[in-house]
């Protein structure tokens, strides 16, 4: 495919994403207005009390006294120039608060995606190769149980076993706050902290992909092109790896794209259990303190992330499947 055409496709997809993201923002904005109580009350409550005059002053200051549509228009106008506003609770710009959470979020999301897709595809692949043997049954059983296990339960159990009983890994956080490692040591330290949350969050998706991969592998194996390959004299291994594998990967890629939104959401629980400084936890806090600028910023950013990942998935799809045409 021509590079220029590919670039045009990406630009086209990005342009297409604009109304979606805008729509999500408006939807969220209006939804949040339904919640009683506002930032001023919460701040006053948090501060330990304040006079009514002071609360009114806070409202005026945060623009909460303006009519709803004016607030919305102002917000959209600002978002259009990528100004996500100011979090009065944190006394910092929303952009800076989000920026701080971006790396941990992407790290957790990325490693979870990698782990779940990688291991999920592998275990699905082997389950399909060993179909109807005890090894297939073990993989399938583990997958279906993992698929049914509540996330938080897994998290608590992993801490109990691997941190407290075995003392192999830290319980929580993203890095050691006594040592404050630098450079390479820091990377290793972060990796050690990442292990448990990433495993917890991947488990469900890993099971999902393993099951999907196994099913599509089996489905693909019944197709005619596999019979052709067999008639060519290829070994089963060659058929599996040269022909079936890539075809079976396509639905998994599609599913992975769909799941990114879920991944961001599911991370609320994991981040809370493992004290991982991601967007999910921030969203949780922002919601309960009615810090709507921040919460909307988080929705905005996660919408962007989801849209971006979907574009990436589409590109991967184009690369994997020559039948998909670019530029339509």
């Amino acid at each position: 495919m021509a590079g220029g055409r590919f670039l045009r496709y990406i630009v086209w997809r990005l342009l297409q994403a604009v109304p979606v993201i805008l729509g999500v923002t408006v939807l969220c904005f209006l939804m949040l207005q339904l919640a009683p109580g506002d930032l001023a009350t919460v701040l006053a409550g948090e501060a330990g009390g304040a006079s009514p005059g002071f609360i009114e002053e806070l409202r005026a200051r945060y623009g909460l006294d303006k009519p709803l549509l004016v607030q919305l228009a102002l917000y959209i106008k600002n978002v259009a120039v990528l100004d996500l506003g100011f979090s009065f609770r944190h006394n910092a710009t929303v952009a800076s608060l989000l920026a701080e959470r971006l790396f941990p979020t992407l790290l957790l999301m990325g490693s979870t995606l990698l782990l779940s897709v990688g291991l999920g595809v592998l275990s699905g692949l082997f389950a399909a190769i060993w179909v109807r043997t005890w090894r297939d049954h073990v993989i399938s059983l583990v997958a279906i149980v993992a698929y049914a296990t509540p996330l938080f339960w897994v998290g608590l159990m992993l801490i109990l076993v691997f941190s407290i009983r075995l003392d192999w890994l830290p319980t929580s956080g993203m890095e050691d706050v006594v040592a404050f490692y630098e450079g390479w040591d820091r990377a290793v330290d972060i990796a050690r902290h990442l292990v448990l949350p990433a495993i917890t969050l991947s488990l469900f998706y890993l099971a999902l992909y393993a099951r999907l991969m196994r099913a599509t592998m089996l489905e693909q194996r019944g197709l005619d092109y596999v019979t052709t390959a067999r008639a060519k004299g290829l070994t089963e291994r060659q058929i599996t790896f040269r022909h079936v594998f890539r075809n079976a990967l396509l639905p998994v890629v599609t599913m992975a794209g769909v799941q990114v939104g879920g991944l961001l959401g599911g991370s609320v629980v994991v981040e809370s259990v493992f004290a991982w400084p991601g967007l999910g936890q921030l969203a949780f806090e922002a919601l309960f303190s009615r810090d709507y600028n921040l919460l909307l910023g988080i929705f905005f950013m996660s919408a962007c992330l989801v849209v971006l990942v979907n574009i990436v998935v589409d590109i991967v799809y184009v690369l994997l499947d020559p039948r998909i045409k670019v530029g339509t």
Binding site: Y225, K232, P322
Partner: protein, 546 residues
């Protein structure tokens, strides 16, 4: 190239199947797919195995190379002797060496028989890679040579193409190149032309014949089409319900079959000689289409990227005289179905007129169209998709009348009569479609069309999905009903034999245009347009008349 050390003589069979029995899983409607089957195929010979669906011919073909879908379908008895070995007994490695090395296979639908994600050159190359020690460069040369042998244009371009970038005929040529790669002793071709257009089919058949003659390969050719048999076979084996009915040299079997079943089958093939005499000219037209055009797609987006649409129908004019049957003949993509869909109001034409009993219905809204709906009814191609699986036959047939205000019990009574008329039991009203066979469902479809008392019936390939014997019955039924009820019919088909059987007039369509129109007798006798001639030349078994 490794030639076998002991060259088999012409008399000795290349492959000999003895007492082959293939069991079906317990839940199937019969215990065996193939039962005690014995056939031989000799060098330099084309053996056609003919049979209707469910005869076990494909299962037999697949069992030769051990390609049955294990573990449910498996060989339970018999021998498959090939070059001194029993293929049912050899070790897996040996079987793999035989596959493509000594016996290769061509499948019905090349689109799905090729890996969609792999360039076709690589897919052919794989055969050489697995079975020979040739270098990559040498293999590429060989693949390009093979592509040339099967008359693929621009072999280098094809080499780097994906299956979806090729036409159906080109794909099948790739499959043939793949089958020929190692000059095997035997090629098994499982309905290799069924999915192709008539003209392409003719080309592929002649290619196979040419290559077979050149290499002296034996070909086991599986087909349901006696025309194809007549075209290509040296010998014929007829199968039914997993058993061999008769076998022999093709000319005697086709001319004078011994077995009644074979006789029925042969008799069911419509003749190429038009059945209806040249009709008198009539001015009274039930349907007149005037300069009709229809373009698909062509939506513009806000970025100003405007995709060009497909002109499916280009300024077509056509008349169906009252009481006549007109065949609309063309290959896939010729626009014949689009034209039909415009006439019944499933599509809105872009321009032109559709005069139904003199009333222009083109461009009418769905509501405005409703009073005219009953005038034109349609019989569909796919007997499985055309009946709602969740409705009773009575409701299916009575739908149109009840919508026009006929009380339900009256409509159901009429449905019973209609079922009787199309040769089904009256009790069928209370049953569901899945309880019927394909032919029976097509009869239900006809009954549904008749329930509206239409003036015109549009039959869109109504028999192409049916077995030969059933095909004939449905065609005859349609013809009888038309004459008896004085209906007019627009019959859409790709099969000139079918057209000759039921239609008085023919219109030939290509690329959205009607290239030739005239009485069936005239067109068969003296085709004016070169495309019509090509179509007639491509009809398989045209020289054979039983």
């Amino acid at each position: 190239m490794s030639a076998p050390s002991t060259q088999p003589t012409d008399a000795a069979p290349v492959l000999s199947i003895d007492g082959l029995t293939v069991a079906l899983p317990a839940w199937s409607d019969r215990p065996h797919a193939v039962e005690n089957l014995s056939i031989q195929i000799r060098r330099n010979e084309v053996l056609c195995v003919v049979g209707e669906s469910g005869s076990g011919k494909s299962v037999m073909a697949k069992s030769i190379l051990g390609l049955l879908p294990a573990p449910h379908v498996r060989v339970t008895a018999g021998r498959i002797a090939f070059e001194g070995e029993d293929l049912l007994q050899v070790a897996p490695e040996r079987l793999r060496a035989v596959r493509s090395g000594r016996i290769s296979m061509i499948f019905q639908e090349p689109m799905v028989a090729l890996n969609p994600l792999m360039k076709v050159g690589r897919q052919v190359d794989e055969v050489l890679q697995v079975h020979t020690d040739l270098s990559a460069r040498a293999r590429r040369e060989r693949v390009l040579g093979l592509f040339d042998d099967v008359h693929l244009p621009e072999p280098a371009r094809i080499h780097g193409s994906y299956p979806h970038q090729l036409s159906g005929g080109q794909r099948q040529r790739v499959m043939i190149a793949m089958a020929l790669a190692l000059e095997p002793a035997l090629i098994i071709a499982d309905e290799p032309t069924t999915a192709l257009d008539v003209t392409t089919q003719a080309q592929i058949l002649s290619l196979l014949k040419e290559l077979q003659g050149k290499h002296g390969t034996a070909v086991l050719f599986i087909t349901h089409d006696f025309g194809v048999v007549a075209e290509i076979a040296d010998r014929v084996a007829v199968m039914r319900h997993g058993r061999l009915i008769e076998q022999g040299d093709s000319a005697p079997v086709l001319r004078a079959p011994r077995e009644p079943y074979t006789r029925d089958l042969v008799a069911a093939v419509p003749s190429l000689i038009p059945r209806h005499p040249d009709p008198a000219a009539v001015d009274d037209h039930v349907l007149a289409v005037r300069a009709l055009s229809k373009t698909y797609g062509g939506r513009s987006s806000f970025l100003g990227v405007r995709s060009r649409g497909v002109e499916a129908v280009r300024s077509v004019s056509l008349e169906v005289p009252r009481g006549r049957s007109v065949a609309l003949v063309g290959e896939s993509g010729s626009g014949k179905s689009t034209l039909a869909r415009c006439i019944v109001g499933l599509e809105q034409p872009d321009s032109g007129a559709i005069l139904l009993d003199g009333q222009d219905i083109a461009g009418l809204s769905r509501a405005a169209l409703r009073p005219y709906r009953h005038l034109v009814q349609m019989v569909f191609q796919d007997p499985f998709a055309s009946l709602n699986p969740r409705q009773r036959v009575g409701d299916i047939i009575a739908l149109g009348p009840t919508l026009r205000g006929v009380p339900r019990d009256v409509a159901w009574d009429r449905a019973r009569e209609l079922l009787d008329m199309v040769g089904l039991q009256r009790e069928a009203v209370g049953r569901f479609p899945h309880e019927f066979s394909g032919g029976q469902r097509q009869r239900i479809g006809i009954a549904r069309a008749l329930a509206m008392d239409p003036k015109l019936i549009i039959a869109d390939e109504p028999v192409s999905a049916l077995d030969v014997s059933v095909q004939k019955q449905v065609l005859d039924l349609l013809d009888e009903l038309r004459l008896e009820l004085g209906l007019s019919m627009l019959f859409i088909t790709h099969d000139l034999r079918v057209a000759a059987h039921v239609c008085e007039e023919i219109a030939v369509m290509r690329r959205g245009e009607i290239v030739e129109r005239g009485s069936t007798a005239r067109i068969f006798a003296a085709p004016a347009h070169e495309y019509t001639r090509a179509l007639l030349d491509s009809v398989p078994g045209k020289g054979w008349e039983h």
